[in-house]
């Protein structure tokens, strides 16, 4: 029993690592204050789940379709919103998250609205179904691949332009960078990984409904990369681990269940405030090394 509980936590951590690392590419590296990351997560989850339930399409295809549809959606919203900067982009993407959640809630003929989608099948390969233990392996593989790809992207010349745009977009443009194109690409890549994370989540939990994909979920992912460290893959991993595990001990304390939710929020807030005061660059942020070199 306790073993199953740990495996459950590890799977959640793996999924959050994908979400945090991908958001970090858009937010930490490119400086796009994207509060709507959860929208891409939701699109991936619903796409993959609906394909499996309605059309019997196997997980592997639905998984990719979830990522691709999330990426296409990012491309669509990049056109009107990426001209916005800073706070304005945050408000626009916040709106996006609310709109997507609202669509999931109200397009009942497709999504069954608040009733959610039950019975999403577990993935299978050569007749073998991925149950909890093997699902963990699957999630680990995908989260490691995601981290490696994002690390590779951020260390490349392409990733360098993203950072330059974050620092000073006008200066980047005057150096010959088509900044709109780069910002769009960063958002699309980020959305793709959020989409596959959604698919992994849906096929693991077997049931999704709109409450999983509320704006609060976005805030949680943002907290992960702030705590762990912006613009750093290691930071995203550390943040995902800490924030997933942080509220868990509450389960074992003699606290009435109605108080747990509130306590969880208080814990998050406390951690965030402590980090921002004591270590504003995050636990393992982009500049941790340089600071230690005393440069």
């Amino acid at each position: 029993m306790i073993e199953a509980y740990f495996i459950h936590l590890l799977i959640l951590i793996g999924i959050y690592i994908i979400l945090a690392a991908s958001l970090n590419l858009a937010m930490g590296n490119t400086g796009l204050l994207n509060v709507g990351h959860v929208a891409f997560y939701a699109i991936g989850a619903y796409t993959s789940a609906l394909l499996a339930l309605n059309l019997n399409i196997p997980f592997w295809i639905g998984f990719l379709a979830g990522g691709i549809l999330a990426a296409l959606f990012a491309l669509l919203i990049a056109i009107p919103t990426l001209k916005l900067r800073g706070d304005y982009l945050a408000i626009a993407t916040l709106g996006l998250a609310v709109v997507v959640e609202s669509i999931l809630r109200n397009w009942t003929s497709l999504t069954r609205g608040p009733l959610g989608l039950p019975g999403i099948p577990k993935p299978a390969l050569f007749g073998m179904t991925f149950n909890n233990n093997s699902y963990l392996i699957l999630v680990i593989i995908f989260s490691v691949i995601t981290c490696l790809i994002i690390y590779y992207i951020t260390k490349s010349p392409f990733g360098r332009v993203l950072k330059a745009i974050r620092e000073d977009e006008l200066a980047a443009a005057s150096l010959g960078k088509n900044t709109t194109k780069y910002k769009t690409q960063a958002l699309v890549i980020s959305a793709f990984f959020a989409g596959i994370a959604g698919s992994l989540y849906a096929h693991y939990i077997n049931f999704i409904d709109p409450t999983t994909f509320s704006v609060l979920e976005s805030i949680l992912i943002i907290s992960m990369i702030i705590v762990g460290g912006l613009a750093s893959v290691k930071g995203a991993v550390i943040g995902a681990v800490i924030l997933t595990l942080l509220p868990e001990p509450l389960r074992f304390l003699p606290i009435p269940s109605f108080a747990i939710g509130a306590l969880r929020q208080i814990l998050y807030a406390l951690l965030l405030v402590i980090i921002l005061i004591k270590r504003p660059q995050g636990i393992w942020g982009e500049f941790t090394k340089q600071k230690e070199n005393g440069a």
């Binding site: 010349p157 392409f158 330059a164 443009a173 005057s174 010959g176 340089q290």
Partner: protein, 252 residues
């Protein structure tokens, strides 16, 4: 003739910042643009580099019309500028700042997937070349420092090194020695002259007359958005219109 500006006009809410401005820049020369504060010098730079659009007029650069092009397209034609206030990327290292100007061809996302070998190879070549430019301005040991951790003078040098690293034939420098001590000023002057000798063309905005007179092949004087005089430094020094514009003498 590398750059030709004809009948350029820009109006900021009723104020003519640039008014019927005409001048030419010759190949492999250092041209300086001087004029009192508010004469429109930086606006002319902004118009040439496409950051703002002119109301009227034409800008020709090596056979291309620049008016209406986006800043990044103009930069790709081989025209680079620096800004009056230092405009480095503070949280990138000196080397990263340098590499950014040389790797437009390496930054495509699709090459990351289909052509990683080419990226690695050319990135290494670029690093070597950038190191040479850092050596030229005298700060090679700072290559791994974040730009924000460099001193003001070093940042100025880095910005010049970065402009040079573009290999652009025409470089526009906005106050390269503004706020710089005399020793560094002379160092920057020598660097710029070396650059000219390597076959590049420079257009410089500067207030430091000592610097302007020593470095220029040609001086263009701007007042109220119009060219009021141009010629070699000696001639400009004694030009009555120029003295009036600077000293606030009578204007007709």
């Amino acid at each position: 003739m590398v750059l030709k500006v004809t009948n350029l006009e820009k109006d900021f809410g009723g104020i003519k910042a640039v008014n019927n401005c005409n001048f030419e820049i010759k190949e492999n020369k250092i041209t300086t643009l001087i004029g009192p504060n508010g004469a429109g010098k930086t606006t002319v730079f902004n118009l040439i580099t496409g950051l703002i659009k002119p109301d009227k007029g034409h800008i020709h650069f090596r056979g291309n019309h620049l008016v209406g092009l986006k800043p990044y397209k103009i930069a790709r034609l081989g025209l680079t500028r620096t800004f009056q206030l230092i405009r480095l990327f503070p949280k990138l290292t000196a080397m990263e700042n340098m590499l950014l100007v040389r790797s437009n061809e390496l930054e495509r996302f699709k090459d990351l997937i289909f052509n990683p070998k080419k990226i690695r190879h050319e990135e290494n070549l670029n690093k070597q070349r950038c190191m040479e430019f850092l050596e030229l301005v005298g700060i090679p040991e700072k290559h791994n420092f974040l730009a924000e951790n460099l001193s003001f003078g070093q940042q100025k040098l880095l910005e010049i090194a970065r402009a040079l690293a573009t290999e652009s034939p025409l470089i526009l420098l906005d106050e390269p020695v503004g706020g710089v001590n005399p020793k560094l000023r002379d160092k920057i002057r020598n660097i710029l002259i070396k650059i000219k000798e390597q076959g590049r063309t420079l257009l410089i905005i500067e207030h430091d007359m000592n610097f302007v007179m020593k470095i220029s092949d040609k001086v263009i004087v701007l007042d109220e958005g119009t060219v009021i005089a141009e010629g070699p430094p000696k001639k400009i020094q004694n030009n009555k219109k120029v003295l009036d514009a600077y000293l606030g003498g009578n204007k007709k």
